[in-house]
């Protein structure tokens, strides 16, 4: 019952066309090697869920035409500014955008984690997000009086896709303080993970490591892909700023992006 698979192709079998895929923010372990493999395979119509925001990965997937729907609280390239393929796609009406706010995406995943249909959330009232998200309902707080409160429906991704520091051969995955990855794995039907390292022994046997470990129960497939988040950084490892700046510059135009993509997929 090993969850270790030999390559990205096997890892990504669950990510079918039209699949809903939850992905973490740029600082939390983005599975970019896996993203490249998805594009090589020609994945289409993804329902991408940014938890709660995304950057390079979302921009590339959108630019390559692999995204049908995007749910996110924000998409940018960090200090490099706007995500150009994202903004171009929205301005052209090329993708269906489900604008959110960060805590609503966390709350939706927590509802899925708890197997409940929704979670209430304070704030948000008065925001136009409520107009463009008819799935966010407003009810009168049953524990108050004339106290409107927003409900966020559960977000149940078919796949959670991310990169993590290490896994053991039992299928346990260590994420440390990056608990949004654990939430994603709990909420999703399947979790597909690339890791820097496969360690011997069982991560859950070490009381310190156990505290930051997603048990194998929630993990479907693991592939050993050192550097699977590059050119983004990760933990102590810095981003490749030159590569990211190169992307940001190239992606300013459709032509520039296509040329960059050709190089990336080569």
């Amino acid at each position: 019952m090993t969850r270790l698979v030999p390559d990205l192709e096997a890892l990504l079998e669950p990510v079918t066309d039209g699949c809903s895929v939850a992905v973490p923010p740029d600082y939390s372990g983005v599975a970019l090697a896996a993203t490249r493999a998805l594009l090589k395979r020609g994945v289409r119509h993804l329902h991408l869920i940014a938890v709660p925001q995304a950057g390079l990965q979302a921009d590339v997937l959108i630019g390559a035409g692999a995204v049908g729907t995007l749910e996110a609280a924000g998409i940018n390239l960090g200090e490099l500014g706007l995500a150009p393929r994202f903004t171009a796609a929205v301005e052209a009406g090329a993708i269906t955008m489900r604008d959110a706010t960060c805590p609503a995406i966390h709350a939706g995943l927590q509802a899925a984690e708890k197997g409940i249909p929704f979670l209430p959330l304070r704030g948000i009232l008065g925001s136009d997000l409520l107009k463009v998200r008819p799935d966010w309902r407003v009810i009168d707080n049953p524990y108050g009086s004339n106290d409107p409160i927003v409900l966020i429906p559960a977000i149940r991704p078919q796949v959670a896709l991310f990169h993590a520091r290490m896994a053991d051969r039992e299928g346990n995955v260590w994420v440390g303080v990056r608990r949004e990855l654990m939430l994603m794995a709990h909420a999703a039907a399947q979790a597909c993970v690339t890791v820097e390292e496969i360690v011997e022994g069982n991560l859950l046997d070490d009381p310190a490591l156990a505290a930051g470990t997603i048990p194998a129960l929630y993990i479907s497939r693991i592939a050993h892909v050192p550097g699977g988040m590059r050119p983004l950084g990760f933990g102590e490892e810095a981003s490749d700023e030159a590569a990211l700046a190169g992307y940001a510059k190239a992606a300013r135009t459709e032509d520039g992006f296509q040329q960059w993509l050709k190089g990336w997929l080569a």
Binding site: G78, E79, D99, T101
Partner: protein, 241 residues
């Protein structure tokens, strides 16, 4: 000390830092070098202030994942937060989504991030935007990412209290924005001409007190060093001295 003795960013950071006096805990969002500078300056001058900065390693002490900032705010453990906007209007509504009609705006921006939530829950939200033009400070935002005001029955312990731009400081209250002071050499009339919404002002509007010696020393010493960990380009550009 002449006007050229400090940068516009230093002036803004000082104004924002002064608004944090006496607080216990201020949080700063991602990609917010000016608020980070202000928070760290306030901390340098008042060791009691806890500073949380998203995107930092040193100033991020959370261990419950991406939701913790938001849960923490809802628990009442964050006293102040900073928000900006691609548009800000006279009702203190902010827009981080796009200019033009939704869902196909003329110009799309990244998105609302946590604004729609934190604006309601953090007691003292400080709006900031270095550019002070009618393009930014509009009569009405095209998209309300987060609403400046709420009906009285809405649970809302937090909301906008201040707006700091590269040219002026405003307070926000029941009657909307009021001009507190101007800086960078702007007159009250300059501010009126470059602001797309109406605001209250006294007949005589004072100049913003410039950075004091202690503030500047802290900014250019420990604050600059700490900010450089997160925003190296900003740190080398924004701080004089």
């Amino acid at each position: 000390m002449s006007a050229a003795a400090f940068t516009d960013e230093e002036q803004m950071a000082v104004v924002m830092a002064r608004l944090l006096r006496g607080l216990r805990h201020v949080a700063v969002g991602a990609l917010s070098p000016l608020p980070a500078s202000a928070a760290l300056l306030a901390q340098a001058l008042d060791g009691q202030l806890q500073v949380t900065i998203l995107g930092s390693k040193r100033y991020l002490k959370f261990t419950d994942g991406g939701r913790e900032l938001f849960d923490c705010a809802a628990q009442g453990r964050i006293d102040a937060f900073f928000l900006s906007g691609v548009q800000i209007d006279g009702e203190a509504n902010i827009n981080l989504v796009g200019v033009g009609d939704y869902p196909k705006p003329d110009k799309r921006f990244p998105g609302s991030f946590g604004s729609a939530y934190l604006y309601h829950l953090v007691p003292k939200v400080i709006l900031f935007r270095q550019e002070h033009t009618p393009r930014i400070l509009v009569p009405k935002v095209d998209f309300v990412s987060a609403a400046g005001r709420s009906p009285s029955n809405v649970y809302r312990p937090g909301g906008p209290r201040h707006l700091v731009t590269g040219r002026a400081a405003f307070a926000f209250g029941e009657r909307g924005f009021s001009l507190v002071s101007t800086h960078g050499g702007a007159s009250a009339a300059d501010i009126e001409a470059s602001t797309g919404f109406a605001f209250e002002r006294a007949a005589e509007v004072p100049s913003t007190p410039p950075p004091g010696a202690e503030e500047l020393a802290a900014l250019r010493g420990p604050v600059k060093a700490a900010v450089a960990e997160i925003y190296p380009a900003f740190a080398s550009r924004a701080f004089g001295g």
